[in-house]
Symmetry: C2
């Protein structure tokens, strides 16, 4: 293990984030928010000075190849430290006077959760809101690169599958070369950002709002500039644009790459994509039907609100276009179920992820076959390829850990006197990186009312959920620290 | 597959249950409930006639050895048919005028769930209450024999572990010989019944109440003769006696056998037992502490109510000695977590079962070790023995299926307009064979308010949960019916 190398890599990452924070200075100046401009500039300045000094002083040290363990340290460490840095403008500008709150909001941003402690959003400076949503966008990009290029190398939670799923143009070329993969995905992400921003502007949103909501969409984050989230705009066009891009952001970005390079046919064979779209369409139609019967007399309204909210919860975005807690119980139950699912692997979505659920489902079916034919062999196939037992094993372990952590977080949240359903929804919404849930964290509420220790715990839950649990939890095992 | 043989075996089982129903005739006569006595006698008479004729007519058919598939048909078929038979007295006596309700109550009895549709229990004839609880006792005994002796042979849901755990006096002797195993366990069950009944009588309960509550305890069922369940008696002595026997009933009955035959030391090595007791003690102390702070100023009261309710939910009994929905949220959250656990394998308890959770926990830890040392081998040990990968595989499949079915039942219950928490609690309480839950199925409520289709669904959920899911679900796969 070599913490110095890890810190050096994180330092480079911080410098990149500093460059992006400079855009917040531009936004601040443009909107004449000079106080904020100074603070953003100061944070960048001090950070560059400290990080630069560190890099300079450690430049001569010998640099062995980073080990497996360094990989884990880097992944968790980078999210923790970058969020620490990102929280500073909120704290020093007085937009979020409590540091605990500021950190919560920032880690919620970088983990693309979108859980907020802000009760009054619209009165905040525009540059602060811009930075708040930029954390989503950066975190989202980070997570795609992480799951497509880094986690498979570390073998976390069965995500070797992503490697198998992501061979790109030539099988051996795209996967192992992190820089190359990252570059292609970056282009796609950037392209989608431009397109969605333009489309939202066509719907009458101003440029900054369009950009900020695009950040929230593509990162499946969910921070908005309005207290009422997307409901504020009350536009079917905007709802449908965001719905479309949420669904796209919940897909494996490697598939977007294939689609763009004319390999669209291979998508038809992709087990995860098929299951993902099936879940989306089924849930949307079911809820639309229920809403049509009981809430919205016009089917197109029912379909619009249903598709939006299903996409928002399924992809773990967390935008709200209608108060779904006022919907019939069964519609709420479907959303509750979707909170367990999440996006596709290699997307910006959180949750358990569709590929894991498909694997476990196929395995459960296989187990039934084994009951009847104990001596036979039933291979488990995904997208036509046989999945190795070790991967299924890792996924099973992940699923158990996920449910266990959900229940433990529920218990901890109840400690602060919160009722059971709210606590369970809080756990699902944070570990699954969704944002809003039910009850005290419902679509019209937020996370402000929790006590500080619970906020720290939830910050940890968001981080662990975002980084596929194992990446973070492994740091708490004695075996990790043994030489 | 040979349905005729299966029906013949179930017929013998029905004849045994008929013998037990005759005791209800005795109870009815003793309490001068002549109408009920006639009905019980008539049901027995007609059943013996029909079953006898069937056995007579099929006596000459050749009898091949029952196959694997016959085993599955027998297990599910016996519970379904015996419950059908057991529901008749409720229906014909008018105690439960709706057949759907009568079947629900009976399957709830035989699956040792204890979910009731009766709103006014105390006004019912004593013989009817006796028969209602006798279904618990018979079902409980059935399930112990099933999990210790039959399911391991069928290899359901990783319960081969029970076989490994249950070697008895000489490893090769007790397990394969179903009749022998059943006999020993039967003695233990009977002995515990006598002791608990006597102890409850010492606490001032009358003989019949003592017997009925013993049935409910040892089967981890939960039917009571009082509207207020055990709270009615308001006796610390009775609470503690029942607590003790609930905990005992939640243990593997093979361990009781070992304890009685002087092999108590081997219990100390049993992973499942250690985890089970650890969960019981930890949860009890946590809730007692919370209750002591906020509800009961005397610690002994807090401990009494806590221990009782923890034992009741953990072992999936479902007796209630205090309205736990009035407890602080965190105490409720702990009970909610316990609803996922269940008793030990080879006990009368339902739920996921401690042994499966221990296995999954150890596997999740192992997966972390593999992350750090991918090439190393970390065997998974239970009670000092290495567990084969295939068993862990089967258990993982079971866990996923359990959570999936919980969520699907939740969704279905929501369809009838029930709120989310109540629906989830209903799913947990039926699939886990617990009985009471939270919200609309809370400790002071019951299942009467559900619509008939939901009651049928919940009857199915109780059955599937009781028979380790796979046993029932496998019947719905096409591969099962293929020649």
């Amino acid at each position: 293990m070599n913490p110095k190398i890890v810190l050096r890599i994180i330092s480079y990452l911080l410098l990149i984030v500093c460059v992006f924070m400079l855009t917040a200075v531009v936004v601040a100046i443009f909107f004449n928010e000079l106080e904020e401009a100074k603070i953003f500039a100061a944070v960048v300045g001090v950070t560059v000075f400290i990080v630069g000094s560190f890099l300079f002083w450690t430049r001569s040290s010998s640099q062995p190849h980073p080990s497996f363990k360094d990989g884990f340290l880097f992944v968790t460490g980078s999210w923790v430290i970058v969020a620490l840095f990102g929280a500073l403008p909120f704290y020093f500008s007085g937009a979020i006077p409590s540091f605990c709150d500021a950190y919560f909001e920032t880690i919620s941003g970088f983990t693309t959760t979108g859980a907020s402690i802000l009760t009054e959003i619209q009165s905040l400076p525009r540059s602060i809101l811009y930075w708040r949503s930029l954390t989503h966008w950066l975190g989202g990009m980070g997570i795609v690169v992480l799951t497509v290029a880094i986690l498979p190398l570390l073998g976390v939670g069965g995500l070797q599958l992503v490697k198998a799923e992501a061979p790109g143009p030539t099988v051996d070329k795209i996967t192992p070369r992190i820089a190359e993969t990252a570059k292609y995905l970056w282009y796609i992400y950037l392209g989608m950002t431009v397109v969605e921003t333009l489309l939202l502007m066509c719907g009458g949103m101003d440029f900054l709002d369009s950009l900020i909501h695009t950040f929230g969409t593509l990162a499946t984050g969910g921070f908005s500039t309005k207290n009422g989230s997307i409901e504020h705009f009350n536009s079917a066009y905007i709802d449908w644009v965001i719905t479309f891009f949420m669904v796209a952001a919940g897909m494996n970005f490697v598939l977007h790459f294939r689609l763009l390079t004319g390999q669209g046919r291979s998508l038809l064979k992709n087990s995860e994509l098929k299951a993902y779209l099936l879940i989306f369409v089924t849930a949307t139609l079911m809820i639309a039907w229920i809403l049509n019967l009981q809430v919205y007399p016009a089917f197109k309204d029912a379909l619009r609100y249903s598709a939006f909210q299903v996409a928002s919860i399924l992809t773990t975005t967390g935008f709200v276009s209608d108060n779904y807690e006022a919907w019939p119980h069964v519609a709420q139950a479907i959303l509750f179920l979707l909170m367990f699912v999440g996006g596709c692997s290699g997307s910006t979505g959180g949750g358990i992820k569709v590929i894991r659920l498909v694997t476990l489902f196929k395995q459960a079916i296989n187990e039934m076959k084994y009951l009847i034919h104990p001596k036979a062999i039933f291979p488990l196939r995904l997208s036509g390829r046989v999945v190795s037992k070790n991967i299924v094993y890792a996924i099973s372990g992940f699923f158990f850990l996920y449910i266990t952590i959900l229940l433990l977080v529920t218990l901890a949240v109840c400690l602060s006197g919160v009722d059971l359903l709210s606590a369970l929804a809080t756990a699902l919404a944070t570990v699954g990186n969704i944002g809003p849930g039910f009850g005290l964290v419902g679509p019209t509420k937020n996370y402000a009312h929790f006590a500080d220790p619970i906020k720290w715990l939830l910050s940890f839950a968001m981080l662990a959920g975002r980084l596929e649990l194992y990446t973070v939890l492994v740091l708490f095992t004695p075996i990790f620290w043994k030489r």
